[in-house]
Symmetry: C2
């Protein structure tokens, strides 16, 4: 597999190209850290954007939903979709309002998803989804039975047209603004777990290490 | 203004209706806490989803971008768009994999945006955007000049077709799974600020209270 995604008419970024990348490893690191993808699809005359859990499995993105959902139904028809995963890293405060920005890493994936129908492949996809969101959980929970498998639609989107955009570092003030007295810099932001909350029946159950140690980012 | 958004064919939720709401105050609270909206729009035969800063100004949603960007150009043409704001509140661990879920609050807004052309209205919209993201910052930074205003497209999307979806609370295990030994409960998640990082020129500048006290959620 190539190190870089091929740049197509659809994925070519026209503006601020220094914020763009087509590097596969960078894209995969972002996808592997994120929890929620925003999925865009057309239904009738309208475009919808809906949050979904996802996971990367090799060179494809897995999505899943109830077989009853409009989204899973539509996606399974092979229409073109867009999935965007965004990690917000900080607020960037410049001395001028105009140069304010955000530090972030985002991936946009374009393509058509296919339903995973084969039972073994579907079960493995659910394992990957579970382990992406909660590493260690699959083997410490009751795994799906035939009825539950049948009630779930699992979709795979090939990772072929993929764009990374990101910004990092301090603000970029104009020279003429640098003498201004305002504080400037970055307020870092991170999605952080709080203390685990057992349900009523688990109050006396030992909290597993993969729960107490849960974190998303590598830093 | 009605307390509830009117339910249309487009916004009517077909599945798990107990997770849906059309309550205006609930939607506005979510929009006011969020920082990033995922904007979906159609360009040619493709649908794109792109992350954007936004702010709510009364009964409309403000978006902004460079006049050079494809997105701002397309949005200003009045095509139908979808903006989704999602706040992730926690991972929900049930005793069965199937009942795993996420606690979240999300808003989907449908409609067509209009360019704000009038200069006074545009400047006020930029003030609202800045104050939404960084309360207290507008008066403590150099405000946009005519050239910067001209380089920015500001768009307003009327908040008319709006849907709230959310989940909260502990997992919902099946009765037959409740005796299983696995830990079950919620890992709360929250976007949290770290210590502010001054840029090279601001190392000796006092850090303003609105930076040290920066937080998003009300809790």
């Amino acid at each position: 597999m190539d190190q870089n995604f091929a740049v197509t008419q659809r994925t070519k970024l026209k503006r601020i190209p220094d914020r763009a990348s087509y590097d596969r490893a960078t894209a995969y690191a972002i996808l592997d850290e994120g929890l929620i993808g925003h999925v865009g699809f057309v239904d009738g005359e309208d475009v919808y954007v809906i949050p979904m859990a996802y996971a990367r499995q090799g060179d494809r993105l897995l999505l899943h939903g109830s077989v009853a959902s409009r989204l899973a139904k539509r996606l399974g028809e092979g229409l073109r979709i867009s999935v965007c995963v965004t990690l917000l890293d900080g607020m960037v405060l410049a001395r001028s309002v105009f140069e304010h920005s955000m530090n972030y890493r985002s991936v946009v994936c374009l393509g058509s998803a296919k339903v995973i129908a084969e039972q073994g492949e579907k079960l493995e996809a659910l394992r990957v989804l579970t382990e992406h969101l909660l590493p260690g959980r699959w083997d410490d929970a009751r795994q799906p039975n035939a009825k539950e498998l049948a009630a779930t639609t699992v979709l795979a989107l090939p990772l072929q047209e993929v764009t990374v955009k990101s910004r990092s570092g301090p603000p970029d003030d104009l020279e003429k603004d640098k003498a201004r007295p305002h504080w400037a810099g970055v307020i870092p932001l991170q999605l952080q777990p709080g203390p685990a909350q057992p349900d009523a029946l688990a109050a006396d159950t030992a909290v597993p290490d993969y729960v107490t140690g849960y974190r998303r980012s590598a830093t």
